[in-house]
């Protein structure tokens, strides 16, 4: 990809867990991940809870610091390590790399009402020239995400808002500064099915005007397919990217055994198809511990095709049929 907006090089993140008195344990939440996000492109990051996708998103926004590897941002015709950015450069990066957080209940400072949660970034980045204009823009943003009439919401505090409403406010705030890159972490998970498409369509329409790139994090393959159509999808398992490539190609013809099993398990809203599908073969239903991950390929304990080499050697992401897959058997 020529001049991607943001790229990670062999990034890993380890968390320490354990009490003060016991031995400390380590969880490798993200292991050796190298991905690129192009300007105005969508990369859906799909995986189940605990696979490290949220952590990877936060690393790319410098909300967490990686333990190894680099994260580079394209700025002024060159790549800069995000942790080396200072002053105006850092301000530009911060404005252009926004987060829609997973937990909507932590979206707004509980001491502030909705209006005072939306106006500061508009004023700070001089998108609005004064309070009056900021208020007008805040009203437009709330209307865009379907919180109408906006004036009804201005004075409310987060304790008076539902998860779905808070999620929409988080979206409004992220798009308000017209960023080049948004990490959307389960951005529509709290919304009812009928509202999800509306919000996703809103983001897609805005993207046409403002050209925002997305790292769209979700556990829901169907939502990922909808949002990242004609774009790319990455599948993550226990800290590793196992498959990455064009969305429709992966959905129609998955190569990695984990991707295959995932696709066989996603519920399909069609009784004839749903009732005729078999159960995917899995050696075990238990997800391995992150503290003591299995040696070699982490999926081998559950993989129906696992062979000896899978227990011994970690597979690398290699090019197979026009995409990248990490599997010894291909």
């Amino acid at each position: 990809m020529p001049n991607p907006l943001l790229k990670t090089e062999n990034v890993s993140k380890i968390f320490e867990v354990g009490s003060m008195f016991g031995a400390k344990k380590h969880i490798k939440a993200v292991e050796n991940v190298s991905i690129e996000i192009g300007e105005n492109e969508i990369l859906a990051l799909v995986g189940e809870s605990g696979c490290g996708k949220s952590t990877l998103g936060k690393l790319m926004l410098a909300l967490l610091r990686q333990d190894s590897g680099r994260i580079l941002y394209y700025l002024n015709n060159g790549y800069k390590d995000i942790w080396s950015l200072k002053g105006e450069e850092f301000k530009e990066y911060r404005r252009n790399a926004q987060l829609i957080p997973q937990d909507p209940y932590t979206t707004i400072n509980p001491m502030r009402n909705v209006l005072s949660a939306l106006t500061p970034p508009l004023l700070h980045y001089k998108i609005a020239k004064d309070r009056k204009e900021a208020r007008k823009m805040a009203a437009e943003l709330l209307t865009m995400v379907g919180l109408v009439p906006p004036e009804d919401f201005f004075k409310r505090y987060s304790c008076r808002l539902s998860g779905g409403q808070l999620q929409r406010i988080a979206i409004a705030r992220a798009i308000s500064v017209k960023p080049k890159f948004i990490v959307a972490d389960e951005a529509v998970s709290m919304l009812d099915a009928s509202l999800r498409i509306e919000i996703l369509d809103l983001l897609l329409n805005l993207k046409k005007k403002i050209k925002t790139a997305y790292l769209f994090i979700t556990h829901d393959l169907a939502i990922a397919r909808y949002f990242a159509r004609d774009q790319r999808i990455a599948i993550m398992y226990l800290g590793n990217i196992v498959e990455i490539g064009k969305t429709e190609e992966i959905i129609q013809n998955p190569l990695h055994p984990y991707t295959k099993v995932l696709l066989m398990s996603v519920p399909i809203p069609d009784p004839k198809i749903a009732r005729s599908r078999g159960l995917p073969k899995l050696k075990s239903l238990e997800i391995p511990s992150l503290v003591n991950p299995p040696p070699g390929c982490k999926f081998h304990t559950r993989c129906p095709y696992a062979e000896k080499i899978c227990e011994e050697k970690v597979p690398e992401l290699r090019e197979v049929k026009g995409r990248l897959v990490a599997c010894h058997l291909l």
Partner: protein
């Protein structure tokens, strides 16, 4: 299951005119609004709707366990078993305790809260059985528990000796299911039994429920906001909107020939990994305030097919043929 056979089956549970309300700071919230619903013996009935539609409240009402803030304003819940018809809402506290778990079992959303954290899994089984059947030999209890746990792919020897916190979410849910079946209930209510689980475990649990249902003929009420899951397991599906049942039909009819405009719109708004993406459409307009629902048909402000009468008159749930029920002015009942 053919449309005609639905009519001739026995009704195991009949909900008649049920209204449940909650007192909230802004007024009275009618979570369940004059609902009539018959559940047939041996079927899997899916109850679907978005958050706030009243499906969970309806389920809890069946066992008379509504939240302290809420109350059952009116209605009957008749349970038919062994030739007897019992109104659950009129049972005394002690009779209700016996009734729960032995006749009707419920698996709540989020299994984590259902366990006593200071006792092992084996003691949960002992307590449950002894509560209902008095002293039963431990050997018998564990034999039964092991068989049930085997059915849900749990290693009984390991799990019986665990404390709840030692189990993963998936294990807890499966253990809770085994616990729900230990007294051989005739009817089980499952409230979002798979929503907190990873996709692979969800698939296994749904398949297991199908197998159990095939083997035992247990009647199931499966509540979920995820219509796609019901495609695999439900025989019939009831759709709820703001406290009312708006459509009931067999699973194939609901997915392939829905009649109520809300059902149609809901189906069109669910993304899927199969099928063309262009067909998806968002549901128009915001969800109304449940404390002040629209007059007439509650769906009319968002309905693309609304007529004048819809703004004034609440449509009744009528049979349009073969047990297909719809609450919509566009349709007339069959003679």
């Amino acid at each position: 299951m053919s449309k005609d056979s639905v009519k001739k089956k026995d009704v195991i549970l009949s909900i008649r005119g049920l209204t449940v309300e909650f007192r909230v700071e802004r007024g009275i919230l009618r979570a369940v609004d004059n609902v009539y619903l018959d559940i047939y013996k041996g079927e899997v009935l899916g109850l679907a709707g978005e958050s706030g539609c009243g499906k969970s409240v309806l389920a809890h009402s069946i066992l008379n366990i509504v939240d302290p803030n809420g109350y059952i304003k009116s209605g009957e819940i008749l349970f038919n078993s062994n030739g007897e018809s019992i109104d659950v809402l009129k049972l005394s506290k002690s009779k209700l305790r016996k009734f729960r778990w032995s006749k009707i079992s419920i698996v709540f959303q989020g299994a984590q809260n259902s366990f006593n954290p200071v006792i092992k899994v084996r003691d949960h089984f002992i307590d449950t059985v002894e509560d209902h059947k008095g002293r039963v030999s431990r050997k018998t209890i564990f034999k039964l528990a092991s068989k049930l746990m085997e059915n849900v792919h749990l290693d009984a020897k390991r799990v019986l000796d665990m404390y709840p916190h030692e189990m993963s979410g998936g294990m807890k849910q499966r253990t809770l299911m085994s616990l729900s079946f230990i007294l051989n209930p005739e009817f089980i209510i499952l409230d979002e039994p798979t929503s907190a689980l990873d996709v692979l475990t969800q698939k296994y649990i749904v398949k297991l429920l199908r197998d159990i249902h095939e083997e035992t003929g247990l009647t199931m009420l499966f509540i979920t906001h995820d219509l796609a899951t019901l495609a695999e397991i439900a025989d019939r599906i009831a759709i709820m909107y703001l406290g009312n049942i708006v459509e009931v039909a067999d699973v194939y009819t609901i997915f392939y020939e829905p009649k109520h405009p809300y059902t149609k719109a809901l189906l069109k708004s669910i993304p899927s990994i199969v099928g063309p993406l262009e067909d998806l459409k968002p549901l128009p307009g915001p969800m109304p305030d449940p404390i002040n629902p629209p007059p007439g048909c509650k769906f009319h402000p968002r309905c693309p097919e609304r007529m004048e009468i819809c703004k004034k008159v609440r449509p009744k749930l009528i049979d349009i043929g073969g047990g297909h029920l719809v609450a919509c002015h566009k349709y007339k009942p069959t003679k």
